[in-house]
């Protein structure tokens, strides 16, 4: 199942995106996260576009995957995470 968002998800998402693209701006990544969570998983939003334009390491599907995987860490599907 999906999970609601906690502070850990936000910080992990920023950390993971920065891990892939060190030049990413934290506020931009947060805004992109808001767009993805709001339903725009095709990265057509202003901030998702900006994050991806400055990061050739990942594409839109991978950005969504990172968010999905991190969210699942906090949804209680796995013991002790």
């Amino acid at each position: 199942m999906t999970s609601n968002i906690s502070a850990g998800v936000v910080s992990d998402f920023i950390s993971e995106v920065k891990n892939q693209c060190s030049s990413s701006n934290s506020l931009l990544v947060k805004k992109a996260m808001l767009e993805l969570l709001g339903g725009d998983n095709s990265c057509e939003g202003t901030f998702s576009k900006k994050v991806l334009s400055k990061c050739n390491e990942i594409n839109c599907e991978q950005l969504n995957e990172i968010l999905t995987t991190i969210k699942s860490k906090y949804d209680g599907s796995v013991i002790g995470r």
Partner: protein, 480 residues
């Protein structure tokens, strides 16, 4: 005078800017305070998921219906989960599921059989998980207790294009288990640049109904005070996860599980007993054919020892996403199981419902049929290999899986959301699937299974039996 006017103008503009900045700051502060209050008052988080399958299963050389059978299947599952932070060190999780399986033979189980798998074949709400995680001082050790999330594990999420749904790989074990676990996160202690987790899980439970523990037939009528022990299990997991450049992600799990299952005092099952016996008895097979190929009797299963079976299961599982920066994912699993039966199991006829008069005369109410040991009469060993790959287009994931077995591997995916449970069939299984993402958390699914098996499991025993199964399905999954 001009200079004075200019000074007044500058001062006025400056004052307006100050007022404007203060208003903006107040507005920002108010919004932040609202957000903080909201995050504190939203103590319980809720999530939901609805999934459905529609399809049919064709059996060639089936054990029922004169060797060939087609079943139309619908399967609807609804799950709801709640979670929340009790404090900075304790988190509480729970999830419930209701699952309705229907086909052209039945709509739902009239008589419950095994409580813990009932969620897969009935309409009742089942508690999938209810547990807490306690992480003292936000350190590396996490204590978990309650009904643990030990169902729907990897690679079920790969073939359904979701995030990971459970702790144990379904190729190792999948049932809702009550118990305690100790997880150690070694990442910070060893300063590794990848996630390294070990997990020790102790589980306890029994196959009896919680609602009527006093009922049923005791194992040994000569010792009526003796009751069945609880089934006990230990599982040790090692989990490594790493992310590389270009979105690459590698997950590796090694798990060894050791279960001592106690015997059921009584378990009621519908049919399946004479079908198994007919596979090695041509006279009975002819009588079964005259009975429409199915066994309509109701049986009570009895065991002559408190310990029913000892099971050891070892699994190596890995998944590699976005391999080498491509859109390919792969997942592999190897499982070896050893099953040591400790009890002889009998089926007693509770209700004689077969239409054939000779069958009725041969198996009247009270007749006991010897089934031998759990799974097989002797120690059973088996291996199961799974190889899966998928390619992700922009909105479409297309995958292929191959499963093959040797020997008599125990069925591990007892609790699974799959249309067909892989572990039910010793033999070769091919599964092709496509998942189309209509939008965020809304996926359409389609797939086809092709199975060639050399044995079948009916009730609690596995018999040698060659057959083919083809299954196709359409479905959807929507979650919030």
């Amino acid at each position: 005078m001009k200079a004075m006017n200019l000074l007044v103008l500058v001062f006025t503009l400056f004052s307006i800017n100050l007022v404007s900045a203060e208003t903006s700051l107040n507005s920002l502060d108010e919004r932040l305070t609202d957000l903080e209050l909201k995050s504190i008052t939203d103590r319980i988080k809720t999530d939901m998921e609805l999934s459905s399958f529609y399809g049919n299963i064709q059996e060639k050389n089936s054990t029922v219906k004169d060797g060939e059978a087609t079943h139309k299947i619908t399967k609807n599952t609804f799950k709801i989960g709640f979670s929340g932070e009790v404090n900075k060190e304790v988190k509480l999780y729970s999830s419930f599921a209701v699952n309705h399986l229907g086909n052209d033979d039945f709509q739902t189980n009239k008589t419950p059989s095994f409580e813990r798998t009932e969620g897969e074949s009935g309409s009742r709400v089942l508690l999938r998980s209810a547990y807490f995680d306690y992480r003292p001082n936000r350190g590396p050790v996490i204590l978990t207790m309650g009904r643990l999330p030990t169902t729907n594990g990897p690679p079920e999420h790969m073939r359904s294009s979701r995030s990971r749904q459970g702790t144990y790989p379904v190729t190792n074990y999948s049932l809702p288990l009550d118990g305690a676990a100790l997880t150690v996160d070694w990442h910070n202690m060893l300063k590794t640049n990848f996630s390294l987790i070990t997990r020790t899980v102790y589980t306890v439970g029994s196959g009896n109904y919680d609602a009527d523990p006093n009922e049923g037939t005791r194992i040994d009528p000569k010792r009526p005070t003796e009751v069945t022990d609880s089934s006990v299990g230990f599982s040790q997991m090692l989990e490594i996860e790493n992310r590389f450049s270009k979105g690459q992600r590698l997950l590796f799990i090694a798990q060894y599980s050791h279960y001592d299952f106690s015997a059921f005092r009584s378990a009621v099952t519908q049919g399946g007993i004479l079908e198994s016996a007919a596979q090695s008895n041509s006279t009975l097979a002819a009588l079964m054919a005259a009975n429409g190929g199915e066994d309509f009797n109701t049986y009570r299963l009895l065991a002559d020892n408190k310990d029913m079976v000892k099971v050891r299961i070892a699994t190596l599982y890995s998944e590699f996403q976005n391999m080498f920066g491509t859109r390919f994912d792969s997942y592999l699993s190897y499982t070896r199981s050893v099953t040591d039966p400790r009890a002889n199991i009998k089926a007693r006829v509770l209700a004689s419902n077969n239409t054939n008069a000779t069958l009725q005369a041969l198996y009247p109410v009270g007749t006991e049929i010897n089934l031998g040991g759990f799974l097989r009469s002797e120690r059973a060993e088996g291996n199961r290999y799974l190889l899966g790959a998928r390619y992700k287009f922009k909105k479409l994931d297309v995958g292929l899986e191959y499963v093959t077995s040797t020997g008599y591997a125990i069925q591990t995916d007892l609790y699974s959301d799959d249309f067909l449970h892989f572990g039910s069939y010793p033999g070769d299984i091919y599964h092709g699937y496509a998942n189309y993402h209509l939008g965020k958390n809304f996926t359409l699914r389609a797939g086809h299974f092709s199975v060639e098996h050399y044995a079948v499991t009916r009730s609690v025993t596995t018999s040698d039996y060659f057959g083919r199964v083809h299954a196709s399905y359409l479905g959807f999954n929507v979650s919030l």
